[in-house]
Symmetry: C5
Subunit: 274 residues, 5 copies
């Protein structure tokens, strides 16, 4: 139910955003909230800084990640335990080497890699090292992708604030000065123009906070959740594969792997076993 929450959150966010942008006096969405020049400063600046910061390949994970958080489910530790126990039944009947024929039927990429390594490495230490190095390298790759979003989350409000400062400078040094010349003596008009100028200048701050808190931070957070779940699943698989190496019984393996999951999953596993 991971992508459901993300889609729900995105829709809820959109509705709230639109509702807050309606001016209830006129009943219309306020046009002041759409300012292409402001959008250019904030998003353009954020992307420019991110491009300087990361190689193209790593930058590409921006688009992949947006797709990923709306489509990928969190990895299931329950499924991992069940798969390991299925394999241990086969190993009990045909021996550990009998697992070789099963490799092609395994969907999970890490488990396939692990069973292949189980065939290759003779000693447990090398097997565990290889699996853990692989898991660690995966975690590092995930982290760099989260980093892209975390960086964008801090660039966006900075450029939003910069845009507002630029808008204020522009307004204060030109517009107002001109008004002062034209409508000499009429404080009212000048203040109105001043306020309108400030309103426009503030739009970039709004964009910066919006993109940071509705897009970049939640995406980075979701990527972390997905990564953590995958790491946990793979840790269970590593312990399971080492257990297979030791030719532990399915019951013992189940006992060993259940320490990684919460009570709910334990109950579900108990039911699915019997």
């Amino acid at each position: 139910m991971s992508k459901v929450a993300t889609i729900l959150g995105a829709i809820l966010g959109m509705i709230i955003l639109i509702l807050s942008m309606i001016d209830f006096n006129s009943g219309k969405i306020l046009s002041a909230f759409f300012n292409w020049q402001g959008l250019l400063v904030v998003l353009g600046g954020t992307f420019a800084a991110t491009l300087i910061n990361y190689p193209l390949g790593q930058f590409g994970c921006f688009f992949k990640s947006i797709v990923k958080i709306f489509s990928q489910e969190t990895a299931s530790p329950q499924l991992a335990i069940e798969q390991i126990i299925d394999l241990s039944h086969i190993a009990q009947q045909k021996g550990v080497l009998g697992l070789e024929k099963e490799i092609d039927f395994i969907d999970d990429k890490f488990l396939r890699f692990g069973i292949t390594n189980l065939m290759i490495y003779r000693d447990e230490k090398s097997l565990r090292l290889s699996l853990e190095q692989s898991l660690n390298a995966m975690r590092m790759r995930h982290l760099t992708c989260q980093d892209v979003f975390n960086n964008m989350a801090s660039y966006a409000p900075a450029f939003g604030m910069m845009g507002t400062v630029m808008g204020l400078i522009m307004m204060m040094t030109t517009q107002v000065a001109q008004d002062a010349v034209v409508v000499d003596g009429q404080g009212q008009d000048m203040l109105g123009a001043l306020l309108q100028g400030m309103g426009l200048a503030l739009v970039t701050t709004f964009y910066g906070v919006l993109f940071s808190n509705f897009l970049f931070i939640p995406t980075a957070g979701k990527l972390k959740v997905l990564s953590d779940a995958e790491v946990l699943k793979n840790q269970i698989l590593i312990e399971g594969i080492i257990g297979l190496k030791h030719e532990e019984s399915p019951i013992m393996l189940r006992e060993m792997l259940m320490v990684f999951v919460n009570d709910l999953t334990k109950q579900r596993l108990d039911q699915s076993m019997h």
Copy 2:
């Protein structure tokens, strides 16, 4: 006395909040502090961003945690030591295997799990590894729940600030401009309207800071306190179970486990022992 403090804190906070919202000129709570549109932006935005960030299951820990901090006591290290020493008396009389009959009478889930493992694993190393992996997995699950609140604590002021910026933009570009047209020449009215608009816009900042500092941060903090106490209790239990495995005497066990507690608990333990 853990939930007492939380309930006390919540009541105290409520009283202070209501007192500060009273306008002493009129003697009534100021209606300006209640603004449903503002509440929608701050709470709605916070929940939307949190939903994007976490799967539904993890998001569910929001409601569970609110209940938890008002109902759950911090785990008692004293009780843990007493339980271990009771078990060690039984183990001295009937042998370690005699503990198997006691499992059903143990309330503490982790201790029950530990004594079961004591029966299952023959070597100390596997026993300790299993208990520590279980403890670590529990700590990780607690951490993800604290993370939800920590994230909300940083989303809330951000959306509060965003709401204020949106309110200012709206006010500056429409309301004031209109006023300027209608009441030409009357600076007074315009300033009044401007100030009132600002006042309304600031409400979302107030909500953001309030929810963050009265709800999200203290809840995350309390969850951490509860988790830390449970981790300490379970560490004591792990050392105690390993001690049972080694068939240490009750006196030796007490000596070994007392290093984990403060002087007050030590004295209480000394009294309850004699």
Copy 3:
């Protein structure tokens, strides 16, 4: 000279604070700096949030700590080394078991605990483990107490800011609006009232920054200094007790323990030895 600095700092701070609160036109302390409602929001809010955050027992360390930083000296590594060397002289004459009679004459609680353990545990590994677990548990207890102050240090300015926002909302939506009605056409009065309202609203920000930077942060810092010094002293004691176990000579022990102290203490030790 640890408490001297704290007392000096507190007095210096008081003087500076009072000097800055004097209005040099009138020569009196400005009454605007005393606002009981503002104080209630900031201190009340901070305490309420802290109560939600911590169990009563842990919250109690607030008052104990305030007393502690004005009364407790930092633990002396020099004294620890001298005590260990005194004990090693006795151990050389009467054997390690001869130290048992000395236990009652030892003031330092951790050293007494350590020498008791030296009698109890036969192997070095268990002895070291017991001492280090005890030291670690102590450090954790100190940390939770520092955490209370660190949390208050971040709550106080947040509630100070919240109070200012509340004051601005109140002022802008009621007071000024009323003034606008009453004194139509007199921009002067309105601006005066507005400024005075702002001044009052800013008082809570002042309180928040003041309590955070004069009370909570320095206290947390001082507790850390005291804790670090005690941890260092206990680390020296642990190494010393292990050395006693090994029946090292006093000269060798002195050489081993001097690596933990700075040059000044080394010189003092050299003088006190000869």
Copy 4:
């Protein structure tokens, strides 16, 4: 494709910056954005503080790093694996000592250092220690260079803010006061002058945010990316050199080293092998 992204980002940033600085009423870049005194405060202050902070040698890495991020490609793990496998083919034919003749033909400095060490150290432990110490020392040197930029990234906005505060003080205490005397009764002119003064004062804030977010932070980020890629490459080389020491077969080496890379690189390696 690493430097391409950096160059692209720099160009994109320039274009956006210039576009945002154009005043669309007059069609010209606003002269208010260029203020040499303001630039002096921000850049001068940042460089002065950095000079106090770092020795000249370390400060020199500022200029080297700017060149580096526009010219250096990220280290390729694929190339590292291919080089190791090439060497393992040679080692299979001529023995490990036969690699000595190859040293001069190796471009990669770390690999050359590693193969030299392979000749020098007889036991694996010393070999691995030497390589890892060298890698670690390299990482530390990279970190100090990133630190220079991270420090500048926090100095720049601080001096930008300081410049604005100084500008406001100057403006408020002199300019405006003079205006008040000269144009008594004309609120309009004074407000205009005030706004213009504020606009000028804000320029340093703009510079601070701009340099921090377009120059210092992205450069520090890019240096980290380059360093991380080089560390990964060298970790692969270390494992490969240890593998050569063990006289592993090329196929086994490939299997061992592929755990460090992502799927895309794995496929490319599979293609390049066959």
Copy 5:
């Protein structure tokens, strides 16, 4: 060239600061930047809070550190390697025990301590442990001194901000109110007084940012650079002394220690050896 950079930076900073404080209309340094009451709040408050935070002994490192960053050179890893190699030549001729006579001719305190320990400890493990504990204790002492400056760097802007808030409260509740009474109807004068009051209030913010970014942060940074260099030098010395214990040849020692230094130092070492 470490102190040269610090002195250069300090001079450059002074020049820039003075240039920015000149009012180019009058050509004089603006007196508004000098405000003894403001300076008292910021510096006095910072010192008072620091005194509460640290014992007198540790506080004393404030003055020592200021002197240190202008006088001490960063420790040279090159010199450390050369000294070790010189000693290894002597050890080759006269045996390791022959180094005892050299102790008095060694300038470097840590090396002298290390060679003394080389005489005292027979087994490598105790020798390494003693040296590493000593290095670690030194690093901890350096860290506490950096902590003093880091704390001051965060106290200064906080008290600067507090001073500004106090100034605003004072100005808004007294001065302006009085003006409002006196010059009824003259908005101009009141605004002028208001602005001047704000200008004065802002001076403490300026002081806070200035001291933090020109004094406290760069000093803490420089102390870290000096400490890191000394730690690296001592790590080289530790490895070298262990190498002397193993009676490694000078050539082998050089090879082992060169992994710690960069290419430039390697080349310089190669030249100085031949």
